[in-house]
Symmetry: none
Amino acid sequence: MPLQTLEPRRLYRQIADQISVLISDGEYTPGARLPPERDLARQLGVSRPSVREALIALEVEGLLDVRVGSGIYVSDPGKRRRNDALQGDSGPFEVIHARRLIEGECAALAAKNANPAQLRAIRGAHAGMVRESKRHHNPLDADRLFHVSIAEASGNSALVMVVQALWDQRMGPLYRSLERKLEYPKMAAETVREHQAIVSAIVRRDPRAARSAMRRHMDQTHNRYIKEWSAGS
Amino acid sequence: MPLQTLEPRRLYRQIADQISVLISDGEYTPGARLPPERDLARQLGVSRPSVREALIALEVEGLLDVRVGSGIYVSDPGKRRRNDALQGDSGPFEVIHARRLIEGECAALAAKNANPAQLRAIRGAHAGMVRESKRHHNPLDADRLFHVSIAEASGNSALVMVVQALWDQRMGPLYRSLERKLEYPKMAAETVREHQAIVSAIVRRDPRAARSAMRRHMDQTHNRYIKEWSAGS
DNA sequence: CGGTTAAAATTGGTCTGACCACTTGACCAA
DNA sequence: TTGGTCAAGTGGTCAGACCAATTTTAACCG
C-alpha cells in the first residue's frame, strides 16, 4: 500500500466549509445576512481573524458579499461564477429536449417545494412576461426570468445553474437565426398561455400537472420551431 | 453617463493583486518561494494579518501553495488552470440531487437509444473504472468517463454538456474537502458494483431499470457523503 | 406630530504583540 | 550511516486595541 501525503486542515478552511454547508442547506438563502464576525467567532469558539480569513476565502469563491459597516451577505446564485462550460453548439432541438427533461422536473419540484416568496417571484415573472408579450419583440428577458424563477423554487442551486446555462444557449447563433423568423405577438401569446398553465399547476401544488405543463410548453415550442424551420427551408 | 458604484479597495485585495503582478511578470516563477509573511508585511508597510488575508485569497484562487513551517510557494500553472475552471458553488448534496434527476433520465435514454459503439464505450469505461478502483486513490477520471459515456448514449449533446459540467463540480473546493475524508478502496468497490448494475440495465435495454440503478447509485453516493460528513464534524 | 440632524451603537478593517505548532538544518553520539 | 536533539525560522492562531463605514436611536426644531 503506497503512503499517502497527509494534509492538515487549516482552521480557515474548516470555518469556510462549515459556513458553506449552512448556505447550501438553505439556512442562509441568497441575500441573507450572516451573523457579525465577532458573533461568528464566539459561536465557533475561534478568534475573529480566523473567521475573517474564512470569509475572505468565501468572498473570493463568490459565495459571500462583504459590506463594510453593514455585514456579510450571501451572494445570489446569478452573481456567482457562471457555468461557462456549457457554451457549446448543441442544436436548438437538442436544447429543447434537454430542457423538457430537466425543467419538467424543476416545475414538479417547484410545485412541491416553493415557499411563498418564490411563488410570488414566479407570479411576478409571469406578470412581467404578460406585459412584455404585448410588445412587438421577443420577450427574452422576461422569459428567462420566468424559467429561472421556477428553477429557483426547486430549491436546488445546481439545477438553477443548469437551467440558466441551457436557457442562455438561446443566445447562440443557431438559435438566433431560428428565432428571427418567429412571429410576434402571436407566438408570445401562445407562450403566455402555456406559462399560465405551468404557474397554475405550481400554485395548486400539483407536481404532476406542473411537470406535464412544462413538458407540453417545451413540446409546443419545439413544434413552433419545426413549423418555422420548414417554412424557412 | 450613469453614476458608477464606488468600490473602495480592500487592503487584502491590493496586496493580493500586487503579488499577482509579480508572479505574472515572472519575478516569482512556478515553484518559487515567496518572502516570509513577516518580511512581506515589512516590505509592503502593512500588518502581517493583512498579508495573510491576501495570501488566503491567492491560495483560494490557486495561485499560491502555503506550507506550514516551510513557506509560501507559487503553484505550477497546471494547478492554477484547474482552479480557473471552477464553476458554480453549489453544495455537494445539491449537485448529487441534480445529477440524480438528470443522469437517471440519461441512463433511461441510453438504455433506449444507445448504438453498438456507444454500448462498447460504456463497457470500456466501466472496465476502466474496475481497473482504476483497485488502486488506492479516487478513480476520478475513470468515473467521469463512465458518466459521460452514458450521457453520450442518450443521444443529446446538450445533456452531455450538462452532465459534464455537473460532474466537474466535484473539482470545486467544497467537494474536494468532503472527498478528502473518503476511504479507498472500500468506496470505490461499492461504486463499481453500483456502476455494474447501471451497465447491466442499459445493455438489457431496460430504461426503467437503468433509471432506477442510476438513481440508486446517486442515493448511495449521497449516503456515503452524509456518513463521512457526520464522522468529520 | 413629522422631518431633520446629530449622536450612539454596531459592523467590518487593520494593526500590534504574544504564543504555539511545524519544518528545516546543523550537530553529535551510537 | 542512522537516529536523536536542538536552535532558528516559518506559518497558524489568538487577544486586544483603535479606526472607518453604516445603521439605529435620540434630540431638536418648525
